[in-house]
């Protein structure tokens, strides 16, 4: 599914945010990438959805070599990957229905299909009664669920969650993680970037630990070791 081979990312003047990272992730895996702030976790996630290009090494996703992906190809890559972020990244001037449908409209999906699929997705994340609300009218947990709904519209084979519980309380955090697990059960590969020890330890899934831009540990059923 994902193959990183000796990937490095250098930032001027002298920072190797990611340093010679090699990683293989199989389809359907749930992988937590953990580490303290500034260890290169988010940079690694950014490399996966082509927000950054690697300085060295190669990146392959689903057989597609995205190492030197062209500008015009990036939107097509992103339609095949779901993302969620700590700050939700919802469009503030669009309501939840519009936020989610926007992601479908970008790829030219017709209105009939949107009307059919979208209520189902809203139901999965439990927001079917709040579709007309704007992001600022929802709680953090609800906003994150809306972001997850948006990430699911293209039925991605890969979902990247970069600190999705960073702005949430423990109850909402648990709900979001449960939602990610349910998505994973539907055979979607999930990469969870986090430094939340309790969540990682409760998952009992693969844990990749980073420090100083390098992978220092990769456990099949791991725990937060730092």
């Amino acid at each position: 599914m994902i193959k990183l081979d000796n990937v490095s990312k250098f930032y001027k003047p002298d920072v190797w945010a990611v340093n010679k990272v090699s990683l293989d992730i199989d389809p359907g895996e749930f992988v937590s990438i953990v580490g303290q702030s500034g260890t290169g976790k988010s940079t690694l996630a950014k490399l996966l959805f082509a927000e950054e290009r690697p300085t060295e090494g190669t990146i392959e996703i689903g057989g597609w070599d995205i190492t030197d992906i062209k500008q015009h190809e990036v939107p097509y890559l992103r339609r095949q990957i779901g993302f969620i972020f700590q700050d939700f990244k919802l469009l503030p001037k669009k309501n939840i229905y519009e936020n989610i449908s926007f992601a479908m409209q970008t790829s030219g999906i017709d209105d009939d299909k949107i009307k059919k699929v979208l209520p189902q997705i809203l139901k999965i994340v439990g927001l079917q009664h709040k579709a007309e609300r704007y992001p600022n009218q929802l709680s953090g947990g609800e906003q994150q669920r809306a972001a997850i709904a948006r990430s699911l519209v293209h039925q991605p084979k890969l979902l990247i969650a970069d600190e999705p519980t960073g702005n949430l309380d423990s109850i909402n955090s648990r709900e979001i993680i449960d939602l990610l697990l349910r998505i994973n059960h539907l055979n979607t590969t999930v990469i969870l970037v986090t430094h939340n020890r309790d969540i990682v330890n409760s998952l009992n899934r693969r844990v990749v630990t980073m420090e100083g831009g390098r992978i220092i540990s990769d456990q099949k059923r791991g725990r937060y070791i730092l």
Partner: protein, 309 residues
């Protein structure tokens, strides 16, 4: 293709309505910029009219000697009317000259009584004359030369000082009108530059306020054109609304200014509303085209930095 086009329209309309204050600010700035351009159009129009009026008011007279017959006068009038430098020739009889003089000096009783004294002797101090108007103010010297060289030179008296004064005045007037035009061009250039800078910076700020949204749109897989198109469409819409507002302002302003312009250019006035009516397409569609092209270029430049994937 059609679905995307419809969506772009929908997004543009939503963005316009949901960012109504930003839309109003953008339209206001465009109105101010267009107002500057229209102010310059009116300024140039009035300046040109002022120069035209001054030129129109200039004429010279040649005075006939006392013993000239009407036949000779008509002959001369016809002859000099055919000159390539002359626009019109009007005959003024001695009596008319006297009447004109009396009217002009109606308040000066001493002068009028002196004229009456002279009339008692059955003599008119004024002689018949031809009032000559040149096609262009710079042609009076040529007219003088033509008159001096003509076969009729003995029939009239030329006040050469009058022609020389006009030559001098012509030079001055041409200098002044050139300076006024130059000043108007500089002023137009400066004002246009200010207007363009205002529009450019407003669009830049408008796009800057959308930078997070642009980032999110990129993240969810929107292509560059899908992101840009609603912005461009909105900017076109801002320009159209601004133009409608400016047409209203120009016509209301024109009607309001007309009495002042009439007073300023007595007898040589220019109708502002008629001017805008007869040049409507060139003035307003020209402005629309100019402002659309400029604001689209501004928005493409401003949005570019946020569109890098």
């Amino acid at each position: 293709m059609f679905v995307n086009f419809r969506r772009v329209f929908k997004f543009a309309a939503q963005d316009f309505g949901r960012n109504i204050w930003l839309s109003i600010v953008n339209i206001t700035i465009l109105v101010l910029a267009l107002l500057t351009i229209n102010f310059l159009i009116i300024f140039n129009l009035l300046t040109n009219n002022a120069i035209h009026v001054i030129k129109e008011k200039v004429d010279v007279s040649i005075y006939f000697k006392q013993n000239i017959t009407q036949e000779q006068i008509d002959d001369l009038k016809q002859k000099i009317s055919s000159s390539q430098y002359i626009k019109s020739v009007d005959y003024v009889s001695a009596e008319e000259s006297l009447e004109n003089f009396k009217q002009k000096h109606a308040q000066d009783e001493n002068l009028l009584s002196a004229i009456e004294e002279l009339k008692k002797d059955n003599s008119n101090v004024f002689s018949a004359s031809l009032k000559i108007k040149a096609k262009d103010i710079s042609m009076y010297e040529n007219i003088l030369n033509e008159l001096k060289e003509s076969q009729y030179v003995d029939l009239f008296e030329i006040d050469e000082n009058q022609f020389q004064d006009y030559t001098l005045m012509t030079q001055r007037l041409i200098n002044i009108s050139d300076k006024i035009r130059f000043f108007a061009y500089i002023l137009s250039g400066v004002f246009m530059l200010i207007a363009f800078m205002m529009v450019f910076n407003t669009i830049k700020i408008a796009i800057y306020t959308h930078r997070d949204e642009i980032g999110i749109m990129k993240l969810v897989g929107a292509t560059e054109n899908f992101i840009k198109a609603p912005f461009i469409l909105n900017i076109l819409f801002y320009n159209i609304v601004a133009l409608i507002v400016i047409i209203g302002i120009v016509y209301l302003g024109g009607a309001f200014l007309q009495p002042i312009v009439d007073k300023l250019f007595e007898g040589y006035t220019i109708n502002l509303v008629s001017y805008f009516n007869s040049n409507f397409i060139v003035i307003f569609f020209g402005q629309l085209l100019l402002s659309c092209v400029f604001s689209i270029i501004s928005s493409l430049i401003s949005i570019k930095r946020y569109l890098k994937f």
